[in-house]
């Protein structure tokens, strides 16, 4: 039982980070139906930003960690700055790479997003190099905008007719989504203690999977999907390794090596039975 709770806690923590990133995916998708491949890389840049801000406060790997109010203050400032900068980056990307393609065929912004993702990856590489970068260890609605966002998601033209500034709403969506990635970046760094320029790609993939699993466009679904993936990932590490003599049940090299495959198999199974994700709405198509 203790083991089970241990797995659950590990899974929930990882899952929460996935959920935070997945929220960004799902919000953007809900509004403009674009798989924002650059989102994971915004998160990666976020982790680098956090390291740099810690550096400004004089906190590095070798320095003594601050305590008490200083610690809380630094964390808060880092969180804010990271969120703001990531949000700015998100808006910039939207402005440069997606806005000109608002009325283009659907695959064009997707390729553009992939392009941005590649660019960010190389920026990360130039910034911190190809090494695994250690992260400083300092411890162990119903608003008007919300309604406008849902309106834009449902029918962009109708929303515009109702006086909603569609471009502004889309910008705000990118702002919030990217800011959440910035927050996730700080939490990730604090928990795992390192980062790397390819991090955005792998984590982005999981987060995107989480968003789809929950029903893309659905915020609660994204959080549920993230937690689910985190727990499955943690559980997978307990599948025994059949290459060890005497073990008959399990997978070769143990579950950890297969966790990605397991997550995707579960995803496919869920989608086969619920084609719009766990909490996604089945919208009948009208002719």
């Amino acid at each position: 039982m203790a083991l089970f709770f241990q797995i659950l806690v590990v899974g929930l923590t990882t899952g929460a980070i996935y959920a935070l990133i997945a929220l960004g995916y799902t919000m953007v998708y809900g509004i403009i139906e674009l798989i924002n491949f650059a989102h994971g890389d915004i998160f990666m840049i976020g982790t680098f930003i956090c390291i740099s801000i810690f550096g400004l406060f004089g906190i590095t790997n070798s320095s003594v960690a601050p305590t008490g109010f200083a610690l809380v203050g630094i964390l808060l400032v880092t969180l804010l700055v990271s969120m703001t900068l990531c949000a700015g980056l998100g808006i910039l990307i939207e402005f440069v790479a997606y806005r000109p393609l608002r009325n283009a065929p659907r695959l064009a912004p997707l390729i553009s997003a992939i392009g941005v993702s590649l660019i960010l990856e190389d920026i990360g590489k130039l910034w911190k190099g190809v090494i695994i970068v250690p992260f400083p260890q300092i411890f162990p609605e119903r608003t008007r905008i919300g309604r406008a966002m849902r309106a834009v998601a449902q029918d962009r033209e109708a929303a515009a007719l109702m006086g909603v500034n569609v471009n502004r709403i889309i910008t705000i969506t990118f702002f919030i989504g990217a800011a959440l990635a910035g927050a996730a970046a700080l939490i990730w760094g604090l928990k795992y203690g390192n980062t790397n320029f390819t991090l955005g790609f792998t984590l982005g993939l999981f987060a995107f999977t989480a968003a789809v699993l929950g029903g893309i466009g659905n915020l609660v679904g994204a959080m549920l999907g993230g937690v689910l993936i985190g727990v499955v990932e943690a559980l997978a590490t307990y599948i025994p390794d059949t290459t060890v003599p005497g073990v008959t049940f399990g997978l070769p090299h143990g579950g950890a090596a297969w966790h990605e495959a397991i997550i995707f198999v579960i995803l496919i199974l869920i989608l086969v039975f619920r084609p719009s994700g766990l909490l996604g709405q089945q919208t009948p198509e009208k002719v």
Binding site: A108, K125, V212, L251, L267, V287
Partner: protein
């Protein structure tokens, strides 16, 4: 006498003759004298005369064939262009275009090599397009509308057109022969031309005009086929068809919308931009095919040493083309977004990897198969690998049938992740992270392919590409292909029209996977190994980028897209990184300056940055792809705004009174 009459150009033809002879002669002269045309001919002649030159008789035959095809096509092209030109566009405009799109690439490729040369060209072309557009705007110039110029030709005009074609080819070859004679004499007097070749110079000078006359007749046939003939006058060149063709053509034109009509008018003769008409495109295709087929023998003449390295590189670019064509079936034709296409590529690669090495016999504790026999097995296994991939395509496609749009994308993405993990972790069969090494290369009629020469692979990939293109075109126009396109456009509509969604979609997944299986088996055989690193999500993304950049659903588009993406992603970074180490290059300076500001900067390091930026830029400026299929272009670009509508003409083209209405003076 009749011949003499056709060869003396009418007065209005003279301007056209000057326009096209100068336009074509300059690039041909550059190719012949500055680059390698002359060199290739002289080498083959020297061999024939027994004075050295190339040693291999097969090479001799190939370069001779290439030279004949090349010059014959260009001479016939001259005749076609003179005949097909309506004379609406001016000389200077054409010459500027030829300078920018033919001469400039020629010089840059000669100087900088193929890849960097074309890359620089692409940048200059973009600037040129913008400059031209703003100049047109500043001058309030609107290009003439092709439809205004469409004429229905009676018998007399058809004879006239034929004579123009003959005159075009004839005079072009005369001018070419004279120029060549003068240049050769100069070469002779500075002592660069062996005396023995003077006989050839004389023969050639006499032979070219005669060849020009007959090639001109050929060009006339091609040009006349694209004219609109009047009613009841179906004979002329088309007598075999009993006149059915012109009537049908007219009826088609009658029913077209303005935009479609403008598109169709581009194919017809006479034409404002004959160099861009479909007739001329045929000539370019012949040139391209001749160039590609004979490339291994002419490469040493064109680019000097290092042929083998270049050929190997182009062989790699080839399997990208097959992958793009295969993915185009799924994404382009059927409209099913597939983000895990790499899975099928991996399946094809591992199929030959496991069978074609000692891996399988080792695992099953069998005696190893004879190595030579194993090499021969490649040919049936190529098909088997494709079929295995197709089978998995159907199997993995099955769960996605209920899904739409991006849910489909994530499931295919999932398969794209699962398959490589399975190959990686089932190391008993696949050797895990180390991959399978020592895979046999194919054998063919006793030719041993394991010798380090990429030529057999070059021809193998050419044959595979030709097969893929052919099957793709046939599939697209088949009942199945039309069903795919119907599903892409409107799934519910297609289903209500009696298309079985399940089988049609599964066929799309299966056929798409089939081609990636071929590509996979080829890839493994060429490398001689298969490694799990070559099959990541990033690769799937790159394949998708090839299809979208080229223009989804367009076969020529995805071929160009594949070559472009391969160039941007592989060739260009290599070339840049190589140039950056060379102190005489511009890039050396750029790299050294930037390193001061960005530590760790190098051109090898920013490969993705360059590639990503270009992806974004291409998508912003060409969201429908570089060469969109006609159907999508009509959807996405509303060309109806500029120019006049057909309805505003006095008589609608093809309507009963049309022929009288636009009769030539």
């Amino acid at each position: 006498m009749a011949i003499a009459n056709t060869l003396v150009p009418a007065r209005d033809t003279r301007a056209l003759l000057i326009k096209w002879i100068v336009g074509l002669l300059v690039p041909i002269a550059v190719f012949t004298f500055v680059w390698s045309g002359e060199e290739i001919i002289n080498q083959s002649l020297l061999t024939i005369l027994g004075l050295g030159g190339v040693s291999d008789i097969a090479v001799l035959i190939e370069i001779t064939l290439f030279i004949i095809v090349f010059y014959a096509t260009v001479i016939a092209l001259a005749g076609y262009l003179v005949a097909a030109d309506s004379g609406q566009r001016g000389m200077i405009e054409l010459w500027i275009d030829i300078a920018v799109f033919v001469l400039l690439p020629l010089f840059l490729v000669i100087n900088q090599g193929l890849i960097i040369g074309l890359a620089v060209c692409a940048i200059i072309w973009v600037i040129y397009f913008f400059a031209r557009r703003s100049v047109y705007r500043a001058l309030h110039y609107t290009p003439p509308i092709p439809s205004l110029n469409l004429r229905v030709l009676d018998a007399e005009q058809r004879v006239d057109l034929r004579n123009r074609a003959i005159a075009g080819s004839f005079w072009f070859s005369v001018v070419l022969a004279v120029t060549w004679l003068v240049v050769d004499l100069i070469f002779y007097f500075i002592g660069q031309l062996p005396t023995a070749l003077l006989i050839w110079v004389v023969i050639r000078t006499l032979l070219l005009p005669v060849a020009g006359y007959f090639l001109g007749r050929l060009a006339a046939v091609i040009a006349l086929r694209r004219t609109v003939a009047p009613k009841n006058n179906g004979n002329g060149e088309n007598s075999a068809n009993g006149g059915a063709r012109p009537t049908k053509r007219r009826r088609q034109l009658e029913s077209l919308s303005a935009t479609r009509f403008r598109e169709e008018a581009q194919d017809l003769v006479p034409n404002d931009l004959p160099a861009r008409s479909t007739g001329a495109t045929r000539f370019y295709l012949i040139l391209l095919v001749a160039f590609v087929v004979f490339y291994p023998v002419i490469d040493p003449f064109l680019f000097g040493f290092g042929t083998n390295g270049r050929l190997a590189g182009y062989g790699d670019a080839g399997y990208y083309v097959i992958l793009a064509l295969g993915l185009n079936i799924v994404v382009g034709f059927a409209g099913l977004l597939d983000l895990g296409y790499v899975a099928f590529f991996a399946i094809g690669a591992y199929t030959w990897g496991i069978i074609g090495s000692t891996q399988l016999t080792n695992v099953l504790n069998l005696a190893p198969v004879d190595a030579h026999l194993l090499s021969l097995l490649f040919w049936p296994m190529l098909l088997v690998a494709a079929l295995v991939a197709a089978l998995f395509g159907v199997l993995l496609g099955a769960p996605t049938l209920r899904l739409r749009g991006d849910y489909l994308a994530i499931v295919t993405l999932g398969f794209g992740e699962i398959v490589p993990i399975v190959f990686l972790e089932l190391d008993a069969y696949t050797n895990g992270t180390n991959g399978i090494v020592g895979v046999r290369s194919p054998a063919f009629f006793g030719i041993d392919w394991s010798v380090i020469t990429p030529v057999p692979y070059y021809y193998l990939i050419l044959a595979l590409i030709a097969f893929s293109i052919f099957t793709n075109i046939r599939l697209r126009d088949s009942r199945l292909g039309r069903a795919w396109i119907a599903i892409r456009e409107d799934e519910i509509g297609a289903a209500s029209s009696g298309i079985n969604l399940v089988t049609t979609k599964l066929f799309a997944f299966g056929t798409g996977a089939f081609f990636s299986g071929i590509a996979g088996a080829y890839h493994t055989a060429k490398l001689g190994l298969v490694s799990p690193d070559s099959f990541s999500f990033g690769d799937s993304i790159i394949y998708l980028a090839m299809v979208v950049i080229g223009g989804i659903g367009s076969i020529p588009g995805v071929i160009v897209g594949a070559l472009l993406v391969y160039t941007l992603n592989v060739f260009l970074p290599q070339q840049l990184a190589a140039s950056a180490t060379d102190p005489t290059s511009v890039f050396y300076g750029i790299q050294n300056t930037l390193v001061h500001y960005i530590p760790g900067f190098s051109f090898g390091n920013i490969r993705n940055l360059i590639f990503g930026t270009l992806l974004v830029v291409i998508m912003i400026f060409r969201p429908e792809g570089l060469i969109p299929s006609a159907r999508r272009r009509r959807e996405l670009r509303h060309t109806g705004e500029e120019g006049v509508e057909v309805g505003s003409l006095d008589v609608i083209p093809g309507a009963p009174g049309f022929e009288e209405g636009v009769h030539v003076e």
